[in-house]
Symmetry: C2
Subunit: 231 residues, 2 copies
């Protein structure tokens, strides 16, 4: 894993709120390890009809992956409409966790606490089978750590039906907001309450499907639910 500081390019540098940018690569990897949904942006079409499209998707990050800065893996059906588009150009993958509501003393200063990573680049189609299997297992383990090791191997048919893309984590930036509001002095002096409300994603009890009633909840599923319940 590279420990080089994040060096955002012009394309990933905020024009506003630069003081909220975080340069520690470890903080980027911590966010990527914790979140479970990425929003992938691509440009569809060309010329005056071109338009952006943003789709939510599962992902996994491998700080030690073979791409510059580590690898961000995405996957999808080989039949997905967006796949050729993604492979033909650049994508932007944004991964955000909402950490809190910020109730300021004016509408203007209302905000949210969050961590958000923006990764830009040209994805690579993963063709090596060992890497492909490893990436798919990482995507499963992103959702339920340790789950992939308990499952049967992927079949040839499943691997053929699935496309895996790798995006270098080289051109990446991280923006973080935490804490309470930044209010104007007159509003503070007026005695209005200001503060924040922490938010976190928590899990309920695992729900067995109809065909699994009576089968014990596997340790890794129970551990995942417990870890997300106890925070």
């Amino acid at each position: 894993m590279t420990t080089a500081a994040l060096s955002p390019t012009d394309r990933t540098t905020a024009t506003r709120g630069r003081h909220r940018m975080v340069a520690e690569r470890a903080a980027l990897h911590a966010l990527l390890a914790e979140a479970m949904v990425a929003h992938v942006g691509l440009t569809v079409g060309s010329g005056p009809d071109a338009h952006p499209l943003v789709l939510p998707t599962a992902y996994a990050a491998d700080p030690d992956g073979p791409d510059d800065g580590g690898s961000l893996y995405l996957h999808g059906s080989v039949a997905a409409g967006w796949l050729p588009t993604v492979l033909a150009g650049q994508v932007c993958v944004t991964i955000t966790l909402l950490d809190g509501l910020v109730a300021a003393r004016s509408g203007f200063h209302h905000s949210a606490n969050y961590r958000s990573a923006v990764v830009l680049g040209r994805p690579r189609l993963v063709e090596d089978e060992v890497e492909k299997v490893r990436a798919l297992d990482l995507v499963v383990d992103q959702v339920v750590p340790g789950r992939s090791g308990t499952l049967r191997p992927h079949t040839r048919k499943e691997l053929a039906a699935t496309a895996v893309l790798a995006l270098p984590l080289a051109e990446a930036s991280l923006k973080v907001r935490a804490g309470g509001p930044v209010d104007d002095e007159p509003d503070i002096a007026a005695g209005v309450w200001g503060g924040h409300v922490p938010l976190r994603l928590v899990a309920g009890e695992p729900v067995a499907d109809a065909d699994a009633v009576g089968v014990p909840v596997p340790a890794e599923v129970a551990a995942r639910a417990a870890a997300l319940a106890a925070r």
Copy 2:
């Protein structure tokens, strides 16, 4: 509010998972009312250097807004680098709530439960001051319902520093996944556990900032935290 069913265009129709698309406009509005973060996609630059950019942002939806299908409001600093780009072209706004982890009996069928709205269109700069103030209040109330009515009015300077954009909710689609995994028969017969883990965003206790210690937590902030704690 229009009650017309959602009629996604080709651009907002999933090429995969069409059975997960939901046509009820009420379901779209319920998601837009519940979520707190939008991911806005835009295309930056032109020609071979053009690339997508996806940024998280606050928003508010007004089903009765003046745009076709109702209005989705975004706001930002007039100094934001993305503002001219957004006004020059089309944007894609995607709003996703993660509702659960789906632990299938194979890696291939692992999934997530979610609700995700995709809205495409050309934003309109809101120039009418009454609409602009109302939109900014809606953005505050999206985070803490009722908060805007307790705050001092926006100042001229604040309004001048803030750009408000409205996107029609006409070209919108909604995709929903719920429940347990869809597994293959042999994996079910093998007796592997399959099911899902519900997820929800919950709030902790409101945290007063240093200047608000001793000031009672306002009713609307307490109610927001309680509503998000009790689900």
